[in-house]
């Protein structure tokens, strides 16, 4: 039972939760529960690693009521990373259309906010806000898990 003794030795990994967010930004229906679908619109994969980090034991975003899901039909929020490339433009619009109301679209990373590093590239359509309505943004290249989680907590209010 090597794994069992490892579990006992390591104990709790999750860091203590930062203070409770002051004001909540999302729709009332999403209080306490936020299911997320991640859309990579053309990212360099840096933001993905940080999102993965959010749901790791250390940051444990699930404790605030957020969860990654497999289908936008199940989702309340879309985490969009990267600039919107030509190939992903229609897919991004479709994904937003497939998400039931009330929903939030969160642009994660500088690319998603304002094209960041890739501004003016030949395959770039624009920032996420140029294609679909954006409800919240996370700045940084890439943003840290703490920063991403802070925005998520504003939506869930936990």
């Amino acid at each position: 039972m090597g794994l069992f003794s490892l579990i006992r030795r390591v104990g709790r990994v999750a860091e203590p939760a930062p203070p409770h967010p002051a004001a909540s930004a999302g729709p009332a229906a999403l209080r306490g529960s936020l299911q997320l679908r991640h859309v990579d619109a053309g990212s360099c994969n840096g933001c993905e690693i940080e999102i993965g980090g959010c749901f790791s034991p250390v940051y444990d975003a699930e404790r605030y009521g957020t969860r990654l899901v497999a289908s936008p039909r199940h989702a309340d929020g879309l985490l969009v990373t990267g600039v919107v490339t030509r190939n992903m433009e229609r897919a991004l619009r479709d994904t937003v259309a497939a998400t039931p109301e009330p929903r939030v679209v969160i642009a994660v990373g500088d690319c998603a906010r304002n094209q960041g590093e890739f501004a003016g590239g030949y395959g770039v359509v624009g920032a996420v806000g140029d294609v679909v309505d954006v409800d919240a943004e996370v700045a940084g290249c890439p943003p840290t898990p703490t920063e991403i989680i802070a925005v998520l907590r504003q939506v869930t209010g936990r």
């Binding site: 939760a17 999403l30 444990d60 699930e62 404790r63 990654l68 039909r73 309340d76 039931p100 109301e101």
Partner: protein, 321 residues
């Protein structure tokens, strides 16, 4: 036959399962989170998710028929019926005589079939894939359930669940018999397979190609999704209840129990199911999902256990009068 105590017990069971099932799922996730070193969202999280889904928009995909819309309701409805029959709080449910073990298995399959048809109804590749997989697993699970059911029915001379549980409660020696142990092992595998837990299915997967249950419901939103998740939680709860009460029936209220007896029954079953859920969640930490084509081997093994249980139960009970 229609006693006040029985009806009250049945209502308690239905309400208890309906309200408690999401908590059980939340509790099992919490146990898992803690073992992984996470803090976890707390056992009430599934209830928050359900409440939120019920406030969300209903989207009907183009080209689907009434099957798609009806499946979640049928799934939840059949789960409620099973919750009313399975002796959780009391053995005196008035529905006990209406449906025995084999009927319960049939009603359970009815829900599975409804969801599989809904998966096919969408016409998407993943819907069909999930339906195909879940139906394959259900078909292979069926022999184990029935054979183990026979093993349990033989000592009680009845396949009605209330009667089986009451017999075991009256004669605790039955639990210690090898037949019961084999039947328990067989049924435990069945419960894991039917409720889509590891190692048969991974309830937390996001990768469509590995999905079984989740693949069928990729097109559902809002209230319908809530019904499905609620029903899935209820199915897990009633199956664990059945498993625990068939083999550890203590505390279950008898046919004529008063309010105190029912309360004790409720407390006992809640405790036992929570304990079994904890054990299951803890065991899952150590497991990886099996390849789909390895699952039949697992199920064949459990069928063999069931077969042994049925044969043993004959030799132990001896020819009945």
């Amino acid at each position: 036959m229609l006693s006040v105590s029985g009806v009250a017990g049945m209502v308690t069971q239905v309400v208890g399962v309906a309200a408690g099932a999401p908590l059980l799922v939340g509790w099992m996730r919490q146990v898992r989170a803690r073992l992984e070193g996470r803090a976890g969202p707390g056992p009430a999280q599934p209830w928050r998710d359900l409440r939120k889904q019920l406030h969300k928009q209903n989207i009907t995909p183009d080209g689907t028929t009434v099957v798609f819309a009806a499946a979640p309701v049928v799934l939840a409805g059949t789960s409620l019926v099973i919750a009313a029959i399975v002796p959780g709080v009391t053995t005196g449910s008035p529905l006990d005589r209406v449906g025995d073990l084999f009927a319960v298995v049939g009603v359970l399959l009815l829900g599975t079939v409804a969801l599989a048809l809904a998966g096919l109804d969408t016409g998407t590749a993943f819907g069909g894939m999930g339906a195909s997989r879940v139906v394959t697993i259900a078909a292979l699970v069926e022999p184990t359930i029935l054979v183990a059911g026979v093993a349990l029915s033989v000592p009680a001379h009845s396949s009605n669940l209330g009667r089986i549980v009451a017999t075991t409660a009256a004669d605790p020696g039955l639990v210690a018999s090898p037949a019961a142990a084999l039947a328990f092992a067989a049924l435990a595998v069945v419960v894991v397979a039917e409720t889509g837990r590891l190692p048969v299915d991974n309830p937390a997967t996001h990768l469509e190609l590995t999905m079984v249950h989740e693949a069928m419901i990729l097109e559902y939103t809002g209230p319908r999704l809530a019904l499905i998740e609620w029903a899935a939680a209820m199915r897990l709860t009633v199956l664990l209840t059945l498993l625990v009460n068939l083999f550890v029936p203590w505390g279950v209220a008898g046919a004529g129990a008063g309010p105190a007896g029912l309360l004790v029954g409720l407390g006992a079953v809640a405790f036992k199911v929570a304990a079994l859920g904890t054990a299951l969640a803890a065991a899952e930490v150590f497991l990886a999902k099996l390849r789909l084509f390895r699952v039949p081997e697992l199920l064949a093994g459990s069928f063999l256990l069931g077969l042994l249980a049925a044969t043993t139960s004959y030799f132990l009970t001896g020819p009945a009068g």
